[in-house]
């Protein structure tokens, strides 16, 4: 795989300005939210509180970045919540029974389980000709059923897990918790892959126009496998992080999480049509959703509003995308190559 440094076409420049605007919007929203919350209760900015928000956002970010890779290709992966549960329980059991397992091995094991799940999704999508929405809706049930069958009523509790494994949640480098480091690494890697590598360009092309991508000789089949494997791997990785963070894993871990993951990606500017969006956007979306969740109790707003706000945010996000796309199209038609 080689890095291709193509000169940016005019297309790219207006497109990147749009995505930048989206990310800027989220950042502004975040800052405003934090400012309001902190003025209501300064402790919202305490080290402990920030740490909690970041830890919570890390897991969501990892999954949202994986979702981004899939959604860019005009697919969707609804099975991520179940994959997270499967991986969390499998790795939890592994670490419980072999207390000497290094954390790195646990992370790899989780990612491996996720890759297997992702590849099954991809094979059904690619070779079965079944739409991703249907496949991953099916595997959402199937993988969850698998966890329940395996776990039964069992639960892995914090006292059964070795200290060293759980310490991964507390430890960190230069004061940044490991979970956050993992999320940052994942987001950066995905950004570079999507932006600077041929594969990334192909994924965008597939999402923009599947037919055209095929005619242009892009290996759509292979790329579909890679995209779903990536989403699965990151969901599996998220499962290990979940086990580390919460210390208790039961069969229900990650139930319903897929909705939040898709929401984070959509709010972060990843279009469900495919063909556009960035990993950083998804990460910012994840951070925004988590911050909202943490800010509500501090602002003494009923927790029940959280879901309502998430839903409204999704609608606002896709509405804005649509608006921007329309204006961009109009600007292009007028012969302008930039959106001013």
């Amino acid at each position: 795989m080689t890095t291709t440094q193509e000169p940016l076409s005019p297309n790219d420049s207006w497109w990147s300005s749009i995505t930048r605007a989206r990310e800027l919007g989220i950042v502004v929203g975040l800052v405003a939210l934090v400012a309001v919350t902190a003025s209501a209760n300064p402790r919202f900015l305490s080290a402990q509180s920030l740490r909690d928000v970041l830890l919570g956002a890390s897991i969501l970010t990892v999954l949202a970045v994986g979702q981004t890779v899939v959604v860019i290709t005009r697919n969707i992966d609804l099975s991520v919540g179940s994959v997270l549960g499967l991986s969390a329980f499998a790795v939890g059991s592994l670490v419980r029974d072999h207390p000497g397992t290094p954390v790195a091995a646990a992370l790899l094991a989780g990612a491996g389980i996720g890759v297997a799940c992702g590849l099954l999704n991809a094979v059904l999508v690619r070779y079965g000709g079944v739409p991703a929405l249907v496949v991953t809706l099916g595997t959402l049930y199937a993988y969850r059923g698998l966890v329940h069958t395996w776990a039964g009523g069992g639960q892995i509790t914090a006292d059964e897990l070795p200290r060293g494994f759980l310490a991964f949640a507390d430890g960190g480098v230069l004061g940044v918790p490991w979970l956050v480091v993992v999320a940052l690494v994942v987001t950066t890697a995905a950004t570079v892959l999507l932006r600077d590598f041929r594969l990334g360009r192909e994924l965008y092309a597939m999402g923009s126009s599947p037919r055209a991508a095929q005619l242009a000789g892009i290996r759509t089949g292979r790329n579909t496998l890679i995209a779903f494997a990536a989403s699965g791997a990151l969901a599996g990785l998220g499962g290990v992080l979940h086990a580390v963070r919460f210390g208790t894993v039961d069969a229900a871990a990650g139930t319903g999480f897929e909705l939040t993951v898709v929401a984070a990606a959509v709010v972060g500017g990843v279009a469900v049509f495919g063909g556009s969006g960035t990993a950083w956007g998804a990460a910012l979306g994840a951070l925004l959703l988590t911050t909202i969740g943490s800010a509500l109790p501090v602002l003494e707003i009923d927790q029940f509003w959280q879901q309502t706000i998430v839903g409204a945010l999704i609608l606002v996000a896709i509405g804005l995308d649509r608006l921007v796309a329309l204006r961009a199209a109009r600007a292009l038609r007028k012969g302008g190559s930039r959106v001013r």
Binding site: V71, T73, R74, N75, I76, L124, V125, R126, Y127, G128, G129, V130, P131, A132, L133, V134, V135, L137, G138, T139, L140, Y141, A142, Y143, R144, G145, L146, H148, T149, M206, P210, R211, A213, Q214, T220, T224, G256, L259, V262, A263, V266, V272, F273, G274, D302, F304, W305, Q306, Q307, T308, I309, V310, G311, A312, L313, I314, L315, I318, G319, R322
Partner: protein
């Protein structure tokens, strides 16, 4: 919809569903009794109701994932209004109307703002469920008049009472889909937006009213759900949307739009319900039920594809459209 298709997947799914019923009656203790049939109808009621308009929506190439949340919100509002002392006879039509309004919200976003229905209804799914909790918080409202709750759970002459409205609606939806200009417009819109527009179908208006219908039916399902369980709760019907989509796809409706038939969908609902009921009676765990549901869903779409692939070389499905994520094969 061609006659050949009706003889294809739809016929197959109907045969499979009837086989499942027959086999369960023979093999499973307690299945097939009057009592069991009554419970089966009650358990299938919400899924069957929601599947009727969902079939129309999916055939036009769109999707509505917000139906279960609409059910939850109408249930919560029903509870709140009942608590406020309104008569139940007033609340029920109001709830159906509320459902229609919520459907109109979806329709507005999808048709007027031309947004992808998958993203819109994922958004409203969260929005409506959140509002349900805002309305009712975490309390449950009970004490509905026994004459109403009794009617919903009761039966007369061995026939469950709720079968009547369900059958009427099912017949109405089937007739509209297969024997009226509206139905033909639905298929045309699903087969190709532009072509349908040129042939005089008002695609956007059609879709708008389909969403309104979907919402209204979900509102009705919310009322029946609340009365059946004598409990209005904000989390009523959580997760039901997946079961409804599964039933519709199992019934042979194509997620790409343009294909599908109501008899197949009703058979799909019956098959899912029969399997669940029979497995539960045989003490098969809940886990197996989820695996079966998921597996059936994938197989139901995979199988026709494989059969087609086996009979002829495929040139590839029509290009994807928003709302039906796909890859090129």
């Amino acid at each position: 919809m061609s006659a050949r298709r009706l003889l294809g997947w739809d016929a197959a799914i109907i045969v499979v569903a009837l086989l499942a019923v027959a086999l369960s009656s023979v093999l499973v203790d307690g299945f097939g009794t009057t009592r069991n049939a009554g419970y089966l109808v009650l358990d299938l009621l919400p899924i069957a109701l929601l599947a009727l308009p969902m079939t129309f929506v999916v055939i036009t190439g769109e999707i509505d994932l917000s139906v279960a949340s609409t059910l939850g919100l109408t249930s919560a509002v029903l509870g709140a209004l009942w608590d406020a002392g309104l008569p139940i006879e007033t609340i029920m039509p109001l709830c159906v109307l509320l459902g229609a309004l919520l459907g109109a919200v979806n329709g507005l976003f999808v048709t007027v703002f031309t947004l992808p229905s998958l993203a819109v209804t994922i958004g409203t799914m969260a929005l409506f469920r959140g509002l349900a909790f805002v309305v009712l918080g975490d309390s449950a409202v009970a004490d509905y008049p026994a004459s109403f709750t009794g009617w919903v759970t009761g039966s007369s002459g061995g026939v469950p009472n709720v079968l009547l409205p369900l059958a009427l609606l099912a017949i109405a939806f089937t007739v509209v889909l297969h024997a009226t200009p509206v139905g033909r417009a639905v298929y045309a819109a699903g087969a190709g937006q532009e072509a349908a527009r040129f042939s005089g179908v008002r695609v956007d208006r059609l879709k708008f009213w389909l969403y309104v219908t979907s919402g209204a039916v979900a509102g009705l399902a919310g009322v029946l759900w609340t009365l059946r369980y004598s409990s209005a709760r904000a989390d009523n019907g959580a997760g039901l949307e997946l079961a409804v989509v599964a039933a519709v796809l199992l019934g042979g409706v194509s997620i790409f739009g343009g294909k599908g038939a109501m008899p197949g969908v009703l058979a799909g609902v019956l098959l899912l319900g029969t399997l669940q009921s029979a497995l539960r009676l045989s003490d098969v765990t809940n886990e197996a039920l989820t695996i079966v549901t998921g597996g059936l869903l994938v197989v139901s779409v995979l199988l026709p594809n494989l059969l087609r692939a086996a009979t002829r070389r495929r040139a590839g499905p029509a290009s994807a459209r928003p709302g039906a994520p796909t890859t090129t094969p």
